[in-house]
């Protein structure tokens, strides 16, 4: 198998990952903003947010998926911008993309965990 074949498959799957995560994000952002706008009654306070999210497996699942979609979508978008605007290519860029994804996932899930427990 030629390296270009691998590259084409690799790029296609990354493209699919970004499009699929965009679909998830479209739903998550709408739900998140609707919650902010509609569910806030007694002012936007930490106590009200924690009252809604603590012990709620529904919100835990929702925001965990939200974070996963962000952790896939944002690094791939940044990777595409870097490839278009600079000469950075290859394995080091893929490693940097993966590191960005893992960082976003770790930070995001840590915050979600904090809201749940």
């Amino acid at each position: 198998m030629r390296s270009t074949d691998v590259s084409v498959k690799h790029e296609t799957w990354l493209w699919l990952g970004q499009r699929a995560s965009a679909l998830v994000l479209a739903v998550c952002v709408v739900v998140h903003l609707a919650t902010v706008v509609l569910a806030v009654r007694g002012g936007l306070s930490a106590a009200e947010i924690l009252g809604r999210t603590r012990g709620s497996f529904g919100w835990l699942a929702f925001y965990s998926i939200f974070v996963l979609a962000v952790a896939i979508h944002a690094p791939l978008g940044l990777r595409a911008i870097v490839r278009e605007m600079t000469l950075w290519r290859g394995r080091s860029l893929d490693v940097a993309t993966l590191a960005t994804a893992l960082s976003l996932a770790w930070l995001g899930w840590r915050a979600v965990g904090g809201l749940f427990s």
């Binding site: 074949d5 590259s7 084409v8 498959k9 790029e11 296609t12 799957w13 493209w15 699919l16 499009r19 595409a80 490839r83 278009e84």
Partner: protein, 240 residues
């Protein structure tokens, strides 16, 4: 007859390095931009180089940048293209300039080959005719993109071509899309592999400059979007 008796024309002279030269050309009724360029060459400067053949919008050889827009000059009336009675004619953007208004189309057409824009028959001469009903979805999709005359206007209008030298470009990808929809073609897997990736359909930003300027009113952006769908489907099925 236009009320204006003459037209002020700036024409690019030289190669990639050059300058605009001013000419005064008589106005004529129903005058096209190609008429103007031809008049300059025949009456004012015989060394002016430009390219044309059919003069009726079929051959795709006379495209130039007219007042900043890529256009087919044989079918562009001066009335439509002038701004303040002035006309600026330059070679197409995104192409190497050979001389004056003549571009080097080599890379443009090599990209058609790279995109596997050539029909690869699946049947032999002993097989019967393929029946392709005009109402079939694949046939309709191919029909919508098939009238490309290879003029290079879309390629000149595309910003992705400008910043990514490897990008196949709207014309080559549009051609590939017509063949992807050709049920008689036997090289679909190779073609989808050739048009995928960041030099292919996935590089397109869907800005639709190609669609805006295509003189045949084709929509290469839609063709490229179709390729993205087919490539994605092939990747999921493991056929890429």
């Amino acid at each position: 007859m236009s009320a204006q008796a003459t037209l002020q024309v700036s024409v690019w002279r030289g190669g990639s390095e050059g300058r605009f030269v001013e000419y005064v050309v008589p106005r004529r009724p129903s005058q096209t931009v190609l008429d103007v360029v031809t008049w300059v060459q025949r009456h004012l400067d015989r060394t002016l180089s430009y390219r044309f053949a059919c003069r009726v919008g079929m051959c795709g050889s006379c495209a130039m940048t007219v007042n900043g827009r890529p256009r087919w000059t044989c079918r562009t009336h001066v009335d439509k293209a002038t701004r303040g009675g002035r006309l600026t004619v330059a070679p197409l953007r995104n192409f190497p300039v050979i001389k004056d208004l003549v571009c080097d189309m080599t890379e443009f057409f090599e990209k058609w080959t790279r995109a596997k824009g050539v029909f690869s028959p699946a049947a032999s001469r002993s097989d019967d005719f393929a029946l392709v009903p005009p109402s079939a979805n694949d046939r309709a999709a191919a029909d919508a993109a098939i009238e490309c005359i290879g003029c290079g206007v879309c390629y000149a209008a595309c910003d992705v071509v400008r910043w990514n030298a490897d990008y196949l470009g709207p014309a080559a990808l549009n051609r590939a899309w017509t063949l992807v929809n050709d049920v008689r073609d036997g090289a679909q897997a190779e073609r989808l592999g050739a048009v995928a990736g960041d030099a292919g359909c996935h590089a397109c930003h869907s800005q639709q400059g190609c669609r805006e300027y295509c003189p045949k009113q084709l929509n290469p952006t839609a063709s490229i979007a179709g390729l993205k769908r087919r490539v994605a489907r092939a990747a999921i099925k493991g056929a890429l």
